[in-house]
């Protein structure tokens, strides 16, 4: 199996001292930002993007992947100890985890979260290593029209399905696509939307946009809303679990992984949904349903496994097709673009060593996270004592440092500020951020694909619909767009389909 050889080579590469060091830095950083509410892996990777100008791609990606996985681990620590999720995907963990902590079982909650994350992450990465190359190989055989269709589908999925308002998703998308227009037209050489500024001829540096939207916009928004009252933290010793806890945890771990991975891989899945589904499932299947709501270990094991598996799943479309399905993946794709590596199905063919080193380091990173998180959990809790003014001043500092270091020109700082204000505006008015960044990344590629497809098809629009995959994708896209209309006709709300189950449970409980 050729892939296995590549994986072994990847391990050899990833295990070099330099790369191991980056892996350790990555997972430590990732856990730290996962623990701290308000700062996340997406923002951290964005802040670190400028290092891509000076560090080898494999080192940079190893670090970013470490941050990505680490964020998932760190978030659960805060959820359990503080009842405040460190990451939005850890919201469900907080329900049972914090109750367990209040009942004096914080150590077990942390242990099941960490071990479950490890199990899910490892299985998820194995699945990633198995599926991504296969999908990639299939995708390479697709012609330009099909690939165009898939990219459009990703745009539509992210815009129309995620988030509560399609109008606002569309607005974000259009803004993102517009930003992508700035620059010289690749076919005719004319400058478009460059305002006569020569430095904009290459387009607005995507690093600056990522840092502005994710880091600066977020920092300014939080600055406008700093919360004041500190939360109740539960002191805890080293995490560990008793035999009974193991017995009750291992199946939820596996079920959670099964939920998380597919959702992570789908363009509109995300991590919140599988964790929610895992929680409901565990509640239904549990032999101790009365414990749910008071601290049931299955309610921590399942969702935590789900969110880590979904993180691994997110990497499948990112590596095999070059399609980002969440914010961190989008920022990591930005790094690819910044290195001049073309993301997409050809990635496995053109840069096999890089990709397999990345995958190998995911395994290593996962292992490091388990080893580092179990003994260090009380230490991470101490991190929460950092005063917020310093945290956010630090974010602002690193954002300006990064953006400035790209080209040492104040223009980039001005752009950073402008787009940072855009990011602030988006957060204030509920415009989702993901469609914008996907628009910036995919916009130019879609335009290029479209024009090239038409060129190859001799200028004939119907040539876009010649390939079967293209047709199927367009049909799926149409279905996605029409489902909400159909549901509305049947007088049902989309979310009510999911809430029905849980609501019924609660009514039964209330009557019992």
């Amino acid at each position: 199996m050729e892939n296995f050889d590549w994986l072994l080579q990847g391990f050899a590469e990833a295990a070099t001292p330099m790369n191991l060091m980056y892996a350790v830095i990555g997972v430590l950083l990732g856990t730290a930002v996962g623990v701290l509410p308000g700062i996340g892996p997406a923002m951290t990777v964005a802040l670190l993007l400028p290092i891509t100008y000076n560090v080898s791609p494999s080192a940079a990606f190893i670090m970013f992947a470490g941050i990505f996985y680490g964020g998932m681990y760190g978030g659960s620590t805060t959820s359990i100890l503080l009842n405040t999720p460190g990451e939005s995907s850890s919201v469900i963990t907080a329900i049972e985890g914090n109750k367990m902590a209040k009942a004096g079982r914080a150590a077990q909650a942390l242990a099941t979260a960490a071990i479950g994350s490890f199990v899910a992450g490892t299985i998820g990465t194995i699945l990633l290593a198995a599926f991504a190359p296969a999908i990639s190989r299939f995708a390479v055989t697709l012609g330009a029209p099909s690939y165009l269709a898939i990219m459009l589908f990703a745009l539509v999925a992210v815009t129309a399905v995620l988030g509560s308002s399609k109008l606002r998703g569309a607005i974000s998308l259009v803004l993102g696509l517009s930003i992508g227009i700035v620059g010289i037209d690749f076919l005719t050489g004319q400058p478009r939307a460059t305002f006569g500024i020569p430095q904009l001829a290459d387009g607005i540096d995507i690093v600056v946009i990522a840092v502005a939207i994710f880091a600066l916009g977020e920092a300014l928004w939080v600055a406008a809303h700093l919360r004041r009252k500190p939360a109740d933290v539960i002191p805890v010793g080293r995490p560990w679990m008793g035999r009974d806890d193991w017995r009750r945890s291992w199946k939820p771990w596996l079920r959670g992984t099964a939920f998380g991975f597919p959702f992570g891989a789908l363009p509109a899945g995300g991590a919140e949904l599988p964790t929610f589904l895992s929680y409901i499932t565990e509640k239904k299947l549990s032999k101790h349903p009365e414990e749910f709501g008071k601290g049931a270990i299955e309610g921590v094991a399942g969702p935590e496994a789900a969110n880590n598996a979904s993180a691994a799943g997110t990497l499948v479309p990112m590596l095999s097709l070059g399609l980002p399905t969440n914010a961190t993946a989008a920022v990591m794709l930005t790094a690819f673009v910044s290195y001049g590596i073309q993301p997409g199905p050809t990635l496995f063919e053109k840069e096999p060593l890089l990709i397999w080193t990345l995958i190998a380091s995911l395994f290593i990173g996962n292992f490091l996270l388990l080893v580092l998180n179990l003994p260090l959990a009380p230490l991470w809790a101490k991190l929460l004592r950092t005063p917020r003014p310093y945290l956010y001043a630090g974010i602002l500092f690193f954002a300006t440092l990064g953006a400035f270091a790209v080209n040492i020109q104040p223009l980039d700082l001005a752009l950073l500020l402008i787009f940072g204000l855009l990011g602030l505006m988006m957060r204030r008015f509920g415009l989702p951020v993901l469609p914008l960044i996907i628009g910036v990344i995919l916009g130019p590629r879609i335009e290029r694909q479209l024009r090239q497809s038409l060129q190859l098809g001799g200028g004939d629009w119907s040539s876009l619909f010649t390939e079967p995959v293209a047709i199927i994708t367009y049909v799926c896209m149409a279905i996605l767009l029409l489902i909400p209309l159909v549901l509305r006709l049947l007088h049902r709300d989309e979310e009510s389909l999911l809430i029905v189950e849980d609501d019924k449970d609660q009514r039964e409980k209330a009557q019992a």
Binding site: I51, T188, P389, L396, F397, T400, A405, L417, D493
Partner: protein
Amino acid sequence: MSAPEQDLPEAEQPETPERDVDYAQYLVVAVLALVGGFLVYSAMTLSEGFAKVDPVGPKFFPMVLGVAALVLAAILAIAIPRGSKGEADAGEDVDPNAPGDWRTVGLLIALFVAMIVLVNPVGWVITSTFFFGGAATILGSKHYVRNFVIGLILALASFYAFYSGLGIPLPAGILDGIL
């Protein structure tokens, strides 16, 4: 099974007698209109593509996007008075019910502009020290000396780290020759 489902749609959309209209969203409309208008204008000033098999040409995308932006602006402008509101980002550390502390944001922006103007002439170290210290102070930390000391440490560390580690010389400004 049917009873809970029928209850839910009504529960999901309660009728509020007074509309909670968020007029500030017209800012978004303005931005969209600006972007859209600009794109359409710039698309019209581009010359046609000269490749015969490029029926799309460089004008197509900007034009489509410009029109889309204007259309969305119009839709949003109509939707706002009907109570359409975006959900303000409830990040993990944010209390979305509290009114925004825009004075803090304004001060931070002013600090930023000062940095943009001063960074090249005065140098990275000094401007970023004041940037960090100023930002920490604006954000509420009253330990003034400590704020600037930490800023200075970060500024010097980043200056030397970028120079020796990554080979990027950040501007030394008026400290040129001393550092």
